[in-house]
Amino acid sequence: MNPDRDADVPPDATPHVCERCGHPFTAESRLALHRGLAHTELTPEEREAFEAAREEEEADLRRFRLLALAALVALYFGFLMTYAVVT
């Protein structure tokens, strides 16, 4: 990806820009994750920020998994009931 061509930062926004590749992010935690995933040789502070962002992300993911599971159950029983009524 080419930050000049593929990213569009609104004039009133304050992006968190990666100092290595120029990729802009909407949140500090995403920049921290990006550094850890896309670049090697992090400074100890960056490494720490990456680990912290990762933990936060895990918690968010757990919440999302619960919601997705609820959606799956709702779909399953929704279809089961519909089939029972219709056929």
Partner: protein, 463 residues
């Protein structure tokens, strides 16, 4: 006798799809315990429920894919590959010459052979061997068109002016070319009239050679030629590929998440590839036939109606995809542009296009395969009624539906892996797929509706 055109219409799929469906509803009935034994009524469940189920399966597969959150697993699946022995120059030259010979034979028999479609080798080679069988090999095995392409072999024998290819045209000539080719296929009896088919082939050859002489073979086949572009994209889906001059094996679809299309012209091509299959099936449905009759009765010329519906449909498909990219951008809360996301996620549509292609053509290849063999033995005096398989067992319909479903499942997975590649936050990646998943659910329901509609010959066109 079954004509070739009847067989390559998706309408035939409807019968087999309904067979498979009635088997499924039989199971459902047994589970609910209300009815003893499987019902054989093909309309055991209403169409809306059938469509809802199809859409539901795609939605569920998105939810299931979202549970795979281990980045290393996602990467490992897509980076897996094995080296294979690479074919030598001799094999390639022989294959190239054989492809050229097939093209020459197709043209000659198209003009000189019998005039009934199913007895003419040209029709069988183009529709059964090439369109049904060979095209399937480009996404099931690997894209060999760059090597085999007989038009490229011809072009390499001609001089070239090597004018620069205008960059601003990009892939648009191939989008227009694809639309034109399918338009001709839908509007003319291309599968029943060998002379017409041979003429279309000659026109395609002349245009291609004029293009390669003007801008050079590399620029022409790389940008403007719709067939080369389609096969190149299908080849991205295939397990066999060439990297650093070596033949390699990878998992099917593994390269798609890393595929970034060049621009909106490329995106338009992928969406058009999906649209043309849909249009071909849509004009063979009952509602289209009655709607078209009403509009033509009101005084609109039939070709104009078909052309209008065709172009409007293509634009609607593109706008729907664009809207999905915009929705994904909003949901993911990112500074990446809509255009970039559209270019990243468009390759995920390719497995769907391939799945439908396989489902539409599997039956005709199986049924007309013996015909092709019998007619190829004596192209100029083929048997009066060449053999074909009398009928296909019901499970072939199940295989066809499975192809459609598998295409969608691979597509959902590719979108998932792409999102993981694009976004650092995994939750952001999941949210970015809402748009493209919505488009896939909608497209599944539309295609399943077309598949369940009984085949009605499109009115006002000669087929």
């Amino acid at each position: 006798m079954v004509t070739a055109s009847r067989w390559r219409r998706p309408g035939r799929l409807a019968g087999t799809a309904l067979c498979a469906l009635s088997a499924l509803t039989g199971v459902a009935a047994a589970h609910s315990g209300g009815l003893g034994g499987a019902t054989r009524d093909p309309l055991a469940i209403p169409t809306w429920l059938f469509l809802l189920t199809g859409g539901g399966v795609v939605g569920v597969s998105f939810l299931l894919a979202s549970f795979v959150t281990d980045r290393r697993l996602v990467d490992a699946l897509h980076d897996w590959h094995r080296p294979l022995p690479t074919p030598g120059r001799l094999v390639r030259t022989t294959a190239r010459l054989a492809a050229l010979a097939v093209l020459a034979a197709t043209l000659a028999v198209g003009y000189l052979g019998p005039s009934t479609g199913v007895r003419n080798l040209a029709v069988l080679v183009v529709w059964v061997a090439w369109w049904g069988g060979y095209v399937a090999s480009t996404y099931l095995l690997g894209n060999t068109w760059a090597t085999l392409n007989p038009f490229r072999t011809l072009a390499s024998a001609l001089p070239s002016l090597d004018r620069p290819y205008p960059d601003r045209l990009g892939a648009w000539p191939s989008v227009a070319g694809l639309l034109l080719l399918v338009w001709v296929e839908v509007m003319t009896p291309l599968a029943d009239d060998p002379r017409l088919l041979a003429t279309v082939l000659v026109v395609y050859t002349v245009i291609t050679l004029a293009g390669t002489v003007t801008v050079g073979a590399e620029a022409w086949f790389g940008n403007a030629d719709p067939l080369s572009r389609a096969f190149r994209l299908y080849g991205q889906l295939a397990p066999l590929h060439v990297a650093d001059g070596r033949l390699r094996l990878r998992l099917p679809g593994a390269a798609l998440p890393d595929t970034v299309l060049d621009g909106r012209d490329d995106v338009a091509f992928v969406v058009t590839l999906l649209f043309v299959t849909t249009y071909d099936g849509f004009v063979a449905t009952g509602p289209w036939a009655s709607g078209a009759r009403a509009v033509v009765d009101a005084g609109v010329p039939a070709p104009l109606l078909y052309l209008g519906a065709y172009l409007v449909g293509a634009v609607l498909f593109y706008l729907a995809y664009r809207a999905s990219a915009r929705l994904g951008r909003r949901q993911a809360d990112t500074y990446l542009t809509t255009a970039y996301l559209a270019r990243r996620f468009a390759p995920a549509l390719l497995p769907i296009a391939a799945g439908y292609h396989l489902a539409h053509n599997l039956g005709s290849v199986l049924v007309l395969g013996p015909t092709l063999a019998a007619v190829a033995m004596a192209p100029l005096s083929p048997p009066a009624s060449p053999p074909q398989l009398a009928g296909l067992p019901a499970w072939v319909g199940g295989v066809e539906l499975a192809c459609v479903l598998l295409g969608h499942l691979v597509a959902v997975w590719v979108a998932h892996a792409t999102a993981y590649d694009v976004f650092p936050s995994r939750l952001q990646a999941v949210r970015s797929q809402y748009g493209v998943t919505a488009v896939m659910v909608g497209y599944t329901m539309l295609s399943l509706w077309i598949v369940t509609e009984p085949y009605v010959a499109p009115p006002f066109i000669a087929t």
